[in-house]
Every structure is written in C-alpha cells, then in structure tokens.
Amino acid sequence: MTSEHDTAGFLEELSRTSGEWLKGDGPDADIVVSSRVRLARNIAGFPFMTRADDDVRLRLVETLRRAVLAAAPDEGLQFINVALLDEMDSQLLMERQLISRELTVMDGPRGVIVGPGEHLSVMLNEEDHLRIQVLQSGFALQECWNMADALDTGIEASATYAFDEELGYLTACPTNVGTGIRLSVMVHLPGLRMTREIQKVNQAAQKINLAVRGLYGEGSQALGDFFQISNQVTLGCSEQELIENMHEVIPQIVGYERRVRELLCRENRQALDDKIARARAILTGARSISSDETLHLLSSLRMGINLGLVEDISIGDVNALFVHTQPSHLQKLHGGPLKTAERNAARASYLQSRLGSA
C-alpha cells in the first residue's frame, strides 16, 4: 500500500531526475523525441465517467488499482492518489507527461500508476476508466505497443473489459472505440518550420488520417518546432496495421527534415551558426526568461547539437531542460510557489546553472 510519504518522496525525486524517454537514445532520436502508445479501456459493468458518482469512482479506483498492480507485481509500480495532490504536484505530473491536463482539472476519486523510469503510466478514471500509456525515447512504437499489450493482457486476467464483438473495446468517446489505441510520436522539425515546409507535412498527414498537434497533445497549439503526429482512426484496423502506417509515414518526415537541415547547413551556414550561438547566449546570459522563449531557444540549441554545431551539450540534457524549465518543476525545486516574474528569474538562473559553465 502506498503511503503519503511514498508519494511525497516520489514527487521530490521526480523534480530532480528525468524520465528515461527523454534520454535521446532511441532510433532517429535526433528528430523523433519520443514515441507513445496509449490504450483506452473500460471495465465491464461500470458506467463511464459522465454517469459515475464519487461512490462508483472510488470503487473503480480500487478495482483498477488492484488489477494493474496484480498484472505487474514485480515492476515496482507506484500508485499516486491524484485527488489528494495540490495543484503544483498534479501540474508536475502533467509537465512530466505522466498524466493529462484533464486528470489534473477534474474532480472525484482518480489516480495514476507510474512505472520506474517513467516509461509506463496508467491513469485511473480519466475520460475512460483506464488509460495505459507507454513512452519511449526515439522512434520506438513497436516497443511501446509490446509493453502496453503485455500489461493490458495482464490486467485482463483480473478485470473484465467492456468489449463488443463488432465494435471492439468500448470507450466513453466514439472516437476511441475499437482498438482504443492512440499511437503518437513527438517530432522536432525546426528545419521544416524555418523553410515553411511544415504546412506540407500537415496536409500530407491529414490526407492519411494522421493528426498533427502541439507539444502537449489534444487541445493545445503546436509549441515551437515540436509536433505530435498520431493516428485518428481506431476502429477497422488492427494495432499492427496502425503501427505499420506510422512506419511508412514517420521515416519520410524524418528524411525530409534531415534533407532540409543539410540544405540549410550547406547554403545558409553562417545564419544557422548565428541563430544557434544567439540562442545559447540568451539561454546562458538572461536574467529573466519566459517558458515560451526558452522553448524556442532550446529548440535551436537542440538542432545545433544534432548538426554537430554544438558539441559540449548532449541531446538528453536539452530534452530534460524542456521539462525542468516548466513552472511546476521550477517551483518544486524552489520549494514553494513562485509568481510569474519570480519564475522567469528562477528559470534563467536554472538554465545558467545547467548550460553556463559548459
């Protein structure tokens, strides 16, 4: 049984470390930051959230928690009671991509189960009873699916899923019914954005039923040069077919971005050098910096590392900075709430401590 002390300790640890999926060491990790597989599942005999009162939600959390922990007893899974967290801590989990924005703002009994290294998180009582999520560094959808599939099968041993012979896994929203699977990859495309080719990627993706979204998934604008590409259709295709579809598209986008970067390097080297050097200078020299500006500048720095123009900083370090410079991480590090101006100053000093002496 997880105690409050465990949760507090776990969150402290989170604010100091980085998820393994940010290491930047998977296939095509120069451009594909991370891969994610999400499975939506519901338990038979229980209503969806729209019709579930707190009593039902509480029983769901208990049933699900038992089923998930029993499915992977030796994995060192950590249950966190999200209903008991303050705003800063639930934001911390969101910045970490372990829970969704929806889970932070909704009411009632709910939780998340997190695996070591943050590859795995299972949200309880989000839009669906269960949201199983596996994250990996680089382009590694197959590995993500294998891991999610195994846990899913394990859970099924002690809980009966709501399933229909024709329609597959039944979900609260008809957009997820069938496989209940959402495959997404986070791609870093500064070259395509600089040369204004990104719109073509957008249009091409839409034609084959893939959605292109911003850094934090549904409902958010694309932040900077990061885009999340995911499948739209969940019914009528098998999980493997959907993975293959992504395997046809993503390498093309990756290749496209690489070619544009090479071209920029060849024909516009001075301007590129200048952009990256300026980014680094501001990141290490600023006394106050917003999260938006940080994101844009880190994007340039990241591209500089990938092109070999910056050699003393690793991709993993920059990936981690994207997460650690967000509001709740800074406040956790500080040990209490910070106002916007104070946060901007704390961000600048954090960046300097990480990048300055290099």
Partner: protein, 181 residues
C-alpha cells in the same frame, strides 16, 4: 404600353409567374424587375438552405424529438445528452444507440468492424455486464426515492456479479489517505 406594377415608370419586362398552375403576368420596369427577381432568388435560396439544414439535422438527430429523448437502459443517458457532451454514459449505450451511432462511427473511422486485439473472456459475460449496469441504475433511482431497503438489496446483487466479473470482489472502500504528511 403598360405601366410598372411597382412604380409609375414604363414597364419594360414582362414576367410570367406560375403559381399553383395559374399563370400570372407581371409587368415591371427594369429597376423594379431586378429588385423583384433578387428578392425572389434570395427567398428561394434561403428556403433551400433552411430545408437542407433541417434535413441534415434530421439525419444527425434522427428527425424528431422522440429520438433525442431515447434513453439507454443501462445508464439512463438520452441521445440528446450524448450529443451535447460527446461522451456516452456506459458501455451499454453502444447497444442502446447502435443504429444512431453507426453513421457517426462511419464518419470518424470509415469502417465499423473491429479487427484488432480481443480479450479472452468478454463474450461469456456480456449479459452480466448489462445486468449490473441496469442494477446500478435501479440502485440510483432507489436512493433518490429514499428506498434504502431496495438499494441495499441491489447493492448486494451488484457486488455478487462484480465479484464474478472482476475476481476478488472486495467491496470494502479503500482507506482514505490522510492529507497530512
């Protein structure tokens, strides 16, 4: 020479309008004729658009309020409530609104037959799943009517089926964790 029907000018256009099989001659000057025709056109397109909107609404909503008030026997949600929030009330809604959901599913996914992973033990328990949802609905109604005796009987029935569905069947509430450290 005929005078314009709308003003004192000389009529230069003669329009034959057929209404209910009756032909009527209308004589108008050029300016008034243009206004008359534009009015008629805009009226026409407006009514076509309105007609189309109504048809679409009919297609989407099933045409009448009765359909919108259609209720899922598993959770009590109406089709209208689903349309408002975009979320269904329970797994049984897919059965209750099967015909109504089909065009929507075709629109989103193009295909409507699941071909992916299957759980090993869903089919055998389908009736239990539906039964327990209905019992929950009855239990909620009993509590609203303050009929706690019936509610307690229903609670026990739910617990028995749940134990069958999800193993364990431990109905004790989880210990509430203290917010203090």
């Amino acid at each position: 020479m005929k005078k314009c029907r709308q003003c004192a000018n000389q009529a230069t256009l003669h329009i034959t309008e057929v209404l209910d099989g009756q032909a009527t001659e209308i004589h108008l000057c050029e300016k008034c004729a243009r206004e008359y025709l534009e009015d008629a056109e805009s009226l026409d397109t407006e009514s076509i658009a309105a007609d189309l909107a109504a048809k679409l609404q009919e297609l989407q909503s099933g045409g009448d309020d009765d359909l919108g008030r259609m209720t899922c026997s598993g959770c009590g949600i109406t089709l209208n409530e689903f349309r408002e929030v975009g979320r269904l009330g329970c797994p049984f809604c897919y059965d209750s609104f099967r015909d109504e959901l089909r065009p929507l599913l075709e629109n989103i996914h193009e295909q409507v037959l699941h071909t992916g992973k299957r759980p090993e033990r869903s089919a055998a328990t389908h009736d239990d799943q539906t039964r327990v949802l209905q019992l929950r609905k009855e239990q909620r109604e009993a509590i609203l009517k303050e009929d706690y005796e019936t509610a307690a009987v229903l609670r026990d029935q739910i617990a028995r089926i749940e134990a069958m569905l999800h193993g364990g069947g431990d109905s004790s509430a989880p210990e509430r964790e203290s917010e203090d450290e």
